[in-house]
């Protein structure tokens, strides 16, 4: 196992370097000129050229990358083109809001999703199962922005129970996290139900069902363990995705998170911010997936890595 961990860590380092190179190259190769984005439409071409030069974008690609690596080694991820502040600071500023939203949404996903899944599986074929299906369908199909704006209109404008937007107190977390959790909750609920059913429907379980409560609880626990792995996989991916993928929810709720930051930075061609966020999120993904992979054998001792 130790050699596996070491191997994975080594690969992670390579992966991160690979990501940094890929980000760097892609940004500079796709059409779109940072200076043009900063200067107004009515700026002369000479001003555009001058600014590009200032931003260091006229050097050969490998020179730019070398400079970038040296700065990163010092902890300097460059100056954001948009904000003219250190890119790292701009990104880190968004961490609290992002982490809070992600954690609360994930908590909701696990608690609500697994609960619904259990109820639907244990009461397969009954009204509870169908209700679960309806909720799951809604969760998967309602567009993020639709759900978000409707919640704002209902709870923020009409009822005035909750704030409409922004990031200040715990009440501000409610609507965005519900909106963000809708899809993963539905997915987790369905996966839980499906995995539980696999175990619960085994012949010997069926015949054994008459045996009594204690035995049924043991079986349930066994079944849950079976469900843990796919659910864990989904959650692992969702956490990572949420860092950069919650952009719609963040836009709707004016939530100062990293999703909106990275998407705006991409549109603005703010290279330093995009680079910083992508490298950070790659690090998170790599470590998170490593963690999930390490948890598999813990949850299911039959799993071994070669």
């Amino acid at each position: 196992m130790r050699s596996y961990i070491l191997r994975r860590l080594w690969q992670s380092a390579i992966t991160l370097v690979g990501v940094s190179i890929l980000v760097f190259v892609i940004l500079r190769v796709i059409p779109g000129d940072p200076a043009k984005m900063l200067l107004p439409e009515g700026a002369p071409q000479s001003a555009v050229e001058e600014l590009n030069r200032h931003l260091g974008l006229r050097e050969p690609l490998w020179v730019q990358y070398g400079i970038f690596l040296r700065s990163v080694a010092r902890g300097d991820f460059g100056q954001s083109f948009q904000y003219r502040s250190p890119a790292l600071r701009v990104v880190v500023e968004r961490l609290p809001a992002t982490v809070q939203l992600t954690l609360v949404a994930m908590l909701l996903t696990v608690v609500v999703g697994v609960s619904i899944g259990i109820v639907a599986a244990v009461r397969q074929g009954t009204g509870y199962d169908y209700a679960g299906t309806v909720l799951a369908v809604l969760g998967q199909s309602l567009p993020n922005f639709w759900l978000g704006i409707m919640l704002i209109l209902l709870f923020g404008v009409t009822l005035r129970w909750l704030p409409t937007s922004g990031f200040q107190g715990w009440q501000h977390l409610v609507l965005p996290s519900v909106t963000l959790a809708a899809f993963p909750t539905a997915l987790v609920a369905r996966l839980t139900r499906s995995s539980l059913l696999e175990i619960l429907n085994k012949d010997y379980i069926r015949t054994g069902r008459a045996k009594g409560l204690a035995e049924r609880i043991v079986i349930l626990r066994h079944a849950l363990k079976n469900a843990t792995i796919p659910v864990l996989t989904v959650i692992g991916l969702q956490i990572g995705t949420l860092l950069g993928g919650a952009v719609i929810t963040e836009s709707v709720f004016a939530w100062p998170g990293m999703g909106k930051l990275v998407v705006d930075a991409i549109f603005f061609r703010d290279f330093p911010v995009v680079q910083t966020i992508l490298i950070l999120s790659a690090t998170v993904f790599v470590l998170l997936n490593l963690l999930v992979d390490l948890l598999y054998p813990v949850l299911d001792p039959r799993i071994r890595y070669r």
């Binding site: 779109g32 002369p44 948009q82 701009v90 404008v157 937007s165 004016a254 930051l261």
Partner: protein, 509 residues
């Protein structure tokens, strides 16, 4: 019971005394000693993110609005485009290439340092010399900035720079102490403005607090100002309706009815100094041919766009330069005549024309809707329009490369002066990577129109526009109307034609 009544009586008496004292004081005491009655907090919701705290480093309407509260410029512009004194008490053109500014005395920056000629020299030279600053290219024509004592400054320019005062309305004055430590300075900037900077989160919100020592009496009227940036329309309007915001900008016409019906909300609108413009790629077939452009112009029913799509929140265009600015004139309205358009195309031998209409994603309200409407209208005339709604960076690259026939754009005259618009889009050098416009007559007239004398400028600009009206290098479908929505608790808010949201003389309660 009795006690409450008594207390109420006492309060009333106190209020009366304070009130009458204030009235007496207002008529007897000098301005600076008058009791400043500042109360409350205003929260504004703007649709465009603010990117920087440096007045010289942006050309964004939103940033101009907000920074105007922290920094004062030399010259201010009123809502009807009159230039009035701010930090400069007066100014005049000594000759075609020299301006002289006389400065206001007794003003200090938020950090205590005094405002004087050193500040002006520093601010202007900085924006000219540091070519990394976004506003730098505008000030390249400045030859020298010299102080004339502590309270006057002379600016000499390489070419006539008649629009200098207009540009200066957007340039906040900085203290010379910022030199050499700009990064630190802009962490906590100090201007001379009605509000002091407190804090900001990049791209999310900024917090300002009143400057008690502001040089204009009675300003500001509130203790605290928070500006939040909320690009999402539904959220911005929801927050206003829920009472969380007191003012929002960029309200689209379709939301007006809903907002008017919301309790506690008022909607204000005013024609803006902005003309929408769809410019042609003048070096590309088929729009290179003036007859095709004429057919396109005749094929668009601008009145339907204004009436049905903008719900009346638009004005017909009578000259490329909007009303209120120097140079505005009346050249009549462009006709809608689809039959004649078809005829022109037939006579010119064009069949099955297909042109690309490029839009920059989400830049203008309802742009996609309007573009589709225009495309449908032109389809009736025999011109197939391919709408290409692109991400901004890509759209601008395509424009530089010349890969478009018509490009959806607009021009809000931020420095209330058309010189920039004309100089950029209608000179050969300026339009080279944009519209490929080149007309020596127009070029000459633009150069002649740069002198400070307003009568000369008016005449030159009228001539230029007559040529443009005839040549039709652009379609000007309408003048925009700026729509704002405010809480009815706000007093004194003025809907501005330049989209600025200025709140220093607005009170709440």
């Amino acid at each position: 019971m009795h006690e409450k009544h008594g207390r109420a009586m006492r309060l009333n008496r106190r209020q009366f005394l304070v009130g009458s004292g204030a009235v007496l004081g207002a008529s007897v005491l000098p301005a600076s000693a008058r009791a400043q009655v500042r109360r409350g907090e205003i929260v504004a919701g703007l649709s465009e993110r603010m990117l920087t705290l440096d007045p010289a480093n942006h050309y964004s309407i939103s940033s101009t609005s907000v920074l105007r509260h922290v920094f004062d410029p030399l010259v201010e512009v009123t809502n009807d485009s009159k230039f009035v004194p701010a930090l400069a008490e007066s100014w005049h053109a000594v000759n075609n290439t020299t301006w002289r500014f006389t400065l206001r005395k007794g003003v200090s920056f938020h950090d205590g340092s005094p405002f004087n000629a050193d500040s002006v020299v520093f601010t202007l030279k900085r924006v000219r010399d540091n070519t990394k600053l976004i506003k730098s290219f505008v000030y390249q024509d400045i030859e020298d900035v010299r102080k004339d004592g502590d309270w006057a400054v002379t600016v000499s320019t390489k070419r006539p720079f008649g629009s200098l005062p207009a540009h200066l309305t957007m340039l906040g004055m900085l203290p010379p102490g910022a030199a050499g430590q700009e990064d630190a300075f802009f962490q906590k900037p100090a201007g001379t403005g009605p509000f002091r900077f407190v804090s900001w989160t990049h791209g999310d919100h900024i917090v300002l607090s009143a400057n008690p020592g502001y040089w204009k009496p009675g300003i500001p009227k509130v203790e605290k100002l928070t500006v939040r940036f909320i690009p999402e329309l539904s959220t911005r309007t929801a927050a206003l309706r829920a009472g969380e915001l007191h003012v929002i900008d960029r309200v689209p016409p379709d939301m007006v009815a809903t907002l008017k019906a919301s309790p506690g909300v008022r909607v204000l609108d005013i024609p803006a100094i902005e003309a929408q413009r769809w410019h042609f790629q003048l070096a590309k077939e088929p729009v290179k041919d003036p007859r095709v452009r004429k057919a396109v112009s005749l094929g668009i029913d601008r009145n339907v766009i204004i009436k049905d799509l903008l719900l009346g929140y638009g004005r017909p265009v009578v000259s490329p330069i909007p009303p209120g600015l120097i140079g505005h004139t009346s050249l009549g309205q462009k006709a809608y005549d689809p039959e004649r358009a078809r005829q022109i195309l037939r006579q010119a031998g064009y069949q099955n024309l297909s042109i690309d209409f490029v839009l920059m994603k989400d830049l203008y309200p309802k742009q996609l809707e309007i573009a589709q409407a225009a495309a449908a209208m032109l389809g009736d005339v025999g011109i197939k329009v391919n709408i290409r709604n692109l991400e901004i960076a890509t759209a601008r690259e395509q424009r530089s490369a010349g890969n478009y026939d018509i490009f959806f754009s607009g021009w809000a005259h931020m420095p209330h002066d058309p010189d920039w618009y004309l100089g950029q889009w209608f000179t050969k050098a300026g339009a080279e990577k944009l519209t490929r416009f080149a007309d020596p007559r127009v070029e000459q007239l633009i150069a002649e129109g740069r002198v400070p004398d307003p009568r000369v400028r008016q005449q030159k600009y009228e001539e230029i526009q007559r040529i443009l009206w005839e040549e039709e290098p652009e379609i000007w479908p309408y003048y925009s109307v700026a729509i704002y929505a405010i809480s009815d608790k706000l007093r004194g808010f003025e809907a501005r034609r330049d989209y600025y949201v200025l709140l220093y003389d607005v009170s709440i309660g």
